[in-house]
Assembly symmetry: C2
Homo-oligomer: 333 residues x 2
Amino acid sequence: MATSRKRVGIRDVAAAAGLSITTVSWALNDKGEVAPDTRERVRRIARELGYQPNQAARALRTGRTRILGIAVAHRESAPWEQTYLPYYRSVVAGAAIEAVEHGHAIAAIPVSPTRGLEVQVPCDGLIVVDPVRNDPILAGCRSRGIPVVTDGRPLDEGYDDVPVVTNDIAAGMGAVLEHLRTAGTAHPALLSGAEADAYTLDTERLFRNWCRRHDLPGTVRRVRAGESPVAAAEALLDRGVDAVHALNETYGNALLLAAASRGQEVPGRLRITMMGERDPFAPDNGAAYLSLDPAAIGAACVRALVAHLDGAPAENVTVPCTFIPPGRARPAG
Amino acid sequence: MATSRKRVGIRDVAAAAGLSITTVSWALNDKGEVAPDTRERVRRIARELGYQPNQAARALRTGRTRILGIAVAHRESAPWEQTYLPYYRSVVAGAAIEAVEHGHAIAAIPVSPTRGLEVQVPCDGLIVVDPVRNDPILAGCRSRGIPVVTDGRPLDEGYDDVPVVTNDIAAGMGAVLEHLRTAGTAHPALLSGAEADAYTLDTERLFRNWCRRHDLPGTVRRVRAGESPVAAAEALLDRGVDAVHALNETYGNALLLAAASRGQEVPGRLRITMMGERDPFAPDNGAAYLSLDPAAIGAACVRALVAHLDGAPAENVTVPCTFIPPGRARPAG
DNA sequence: CTGAAAGCGCTTACAG
DNA sequence: CTGAAAGCGCTTACAG
């Protein structure tokens, strides 16, 4: 028998059940008033026929696609691949898993640095990761009326109505700096980046304020675009610092490498801390970690965006980070 | 002036240009025959009005959504978070970037282990990562006629028409085992996993065959579901092996941890190799890496799927992996 | 070269 | 409780 390869639609279900498509739609979507046994019968037939509603048609009709986009602001910048990508990947993974719980899916939205946002994907709202100064993505969403949630505070004016999910950098940096102070640092430093996002700026500000408060000579060194993180780390160590916090794992690993090449033991005369995800099964490398939990951030972004789409007022969320001192995972002895 | 918040549609563009929507659609999509200056004028007006075509309507009409789904087979298994997730994340990232080049977007498709595939996202095709035995996702796509590309060979029968993208495990394991043989191993081992996918099975087979060929006592130890990788690694080291290859970074790191707790130097009496992405800026940990390049895999999957959707015959792709001996990234001296 | 009209597959007032 | 019909915003034969 030549089974037609055409997809079964709501009409086919209606015909098989001897009902109108209205009743089928209502029975399947728990809308309107349908006799209980009719509802059951329709569902059974739909299942037997393998009916899958055409989501494009549904989206056209209802105006909701149940797709949430996720976009990274400084996607095309040179250091992105090594530094921000792992974080971004984890945010996406966390968002994707959480989205399922709310009946949504996550789509990665391409952002062209030249042409800006090109939302060819029909999505109900957008998660913008690490917005930068004069962010073209935020501007694009604003002008098109696309609901937005950001991971990281927008730096531009006029986005007070946007729900923001942030890492608790203040508490996290507090833990890091307290750790360094307890270890007796006399010359702390920060290996920072050139990207102008709230995370970078806040980290630098918190570091500087803390140094001022404790009357310590704090050095902030930014890895320039295109510069090797290892070269920057070596330059920093040559200035005689005794404790360095790194903005991300790439910079932190570069510091470890630079320290090793100079024979500086970590943690010893030199302390290294970094933002990053510590693999609990990896051997100790001497560094302390400030774990950001990007998957939790992604999940929080989804919850905030779904609530926003449902008309809830914008509410900001702060996700705690965890300080992991060196040697935590090393087994006793 | 009370600017209506309604989205501007093709009708608005047509009205502003004094043309029919047909001409507007053709001018914007480079279809049909439109006078060159008419085309330009339409485009300018569309730009001025900020017209963004409704993708749901377009998808309903054309039957193509320009969305590619990506799903992981054993998503819900317990060890997934630690072992497969990083790989999967990188595949998704690579796929997302490549998809842009082809005018498509990537959507993460949720897979319920109980209810199987629930494609609520309207996608033109699906990338299935690491299909397992009796894979419900593949079966779901088959029955619904959704075009598929897999990362990793399907284990089930009847998917000969599916394009497959694979890591060149054979060459990669060849490099790993040659490295171990040169180092003089007398008792090699493999720390493997319980997941029945082609990658795991092929790795085990290649290892066993090689041991047989070289007349060496090869030990294969599988980390059981729920078992601590570190405990498994310790149990393996207690059997007096002198070289271990780990299926992934989690297991590799567990081996490093177990070796450290036993005071076994790596690489020394004990050699450790693992599949995984070596951070070029991380200090040497003594292990050798077989780098899989998951981002390249993701990109290759997208290219294969797009070609498949365009009617090209199924063609398999093998992505090379790179062997990185220990100490590669350590600076001289 | 341009336009009027059909229709993609749904959901949802509205009428019985 | 059920059905006939409108319409979401596009693309595309078809007719001029």
